[in-house]
């Protein structure tokens, strides 16, 4: 009797410890379906300039049991940014604006996830990290919502038999282009100094 009680207790303690120290899962944000993109928008003289940057990649390690452990990095290829007008796109990627030739990547490296509130599989939090844009790195804090979708990977790639979870990250924030050396203080009457950014990206199971 004492032996079975001891074994049960040990099993219970063991499973509790396993749950508490569940390893974060790695998610790869290079989306095979090409959905991932960062949308940007800024007011200008004639109409708002809006476009997308679809060259998203990077890895995030997320623990659904303990979201504050989340770490990772999201990378966007600068050259992938485009707007509806080809001439405007060329100017935007040029030396005076994003300078894509010399700064091929825009990087956000997460340093901490705070103010987390989890409800079911959705977690809202404040993601603090270092944003590098046009060679300048600044620390920013972004409100984000993380949606963990267990078992949804196979369904998304039309292979339901393939196991795997998905992690969707959403967020909206603004940056000042002057903070990143993008024509600081110039043409503010024609191109708004604030750039509104919106991200909705999905990570698939990564192979570490």
């Amino acid at each position: 009797m004492n032996k079975s009680l001891l074994v049960s207790t040990l099993l219970f303690v063991g499973s509790a410890m396993t749950a508490a120290t569940a390893a974060p899962q790695a998610f790869d944000f290079t989306d095979p379906k090409g959905v991932n993109a960062i949308q940007f928008k800024l007011d200008s003289l004639l109409e708002p300039i809006s476009g997308t940057a679809s060259g998203v990649s990077g890895k995030v390690h997320y623990n659904p049991e303990n979201p504050t452990e989340t770490t990772g990095k999201i990378v966007v290829a600068t050259q992938s940014a485009l707007v509806s007008n080809a001439v405007m796109t060329e100017h935007m990627l040029g030396e005076q604006w994003l300078d894509a030739a010399n700064n091929p990547e825009i990087v956000f490296e997460l340093t901490s996830l705070s103010n987390t509130q989890t409800e079911g599989n959705n977690t809202t939090a404040t993601a603090t990290g270092k944003l590098t844009l046009k060679g300048i790195t600044r620390e920013i804090s972004v409100p984000v919502r993380l949606s963990y979708l267990p078992g949804a990977f196979g369904k998304r790639i039309n292979k339901p038999e393939v196991p795997g979870d998905l992690l969707v990250i959403r967020g909206e924030f603004s940056i000042a282009r002057a903070d990143f050396g993008i024509m600081p203080g110039q043409h503010e009457d024609k191109v708004n100094p604030e750039i509104a950014l919106s991200l909705a990206i999905v990570g698939s199971p990564a192979q570490d």
Partner: protein
């Protein structure tokens, strides 16, 4: 004494004013064409009042994640600067046509 030779406008060389008239007509025709085509084409393509587009954004939704994402269709949509160019060209052609007006000569 011989009588003075009277000349009539109809006796003038038939081709002297004709090239100018032709050019004037062509310029005004070009002006009208640019104006009409410009307005009709711009209106027909959606009367877009922003800048011209070479690619048109199309919003789609990823079924599993619910993410709204944008894809682009490669097609040209003329914008306000395109319309302005057509109207400007029409105005220039019409303005130039005034240099080719023929002067009417009257003889008693």
């Amino acid at each position: 004494m011989t009588a003075p030779i009277r000349t009539h406008a109809s006796d003038a060389t038939p081709t002297s004013g004709a090239p100018r008239k032709k050019i004037l007509s062509l310029l005004r025709l070009l002006s009208a064409f640019c104006l009409v085509f410009g307005i009709v084409y711009w209106s027909g393509k959606g009367a877009h009042t922003g800048w011209s587009m070479n690619r048109v954004p199309v919003t789609q939704v990823d079924e599993i994640t619910g993410i709204e994402f944008i894809t682009y269709e490669d097609r040209f949509v003329p914008g306000i600067e395109w319309l302005g160019g057509a109207v400007g060209l029409a105005a220039v052609a019409f303005g130039l046509s005034f240099f080719f007006r023929t002067k009417k000569t009257h003889n008693p």
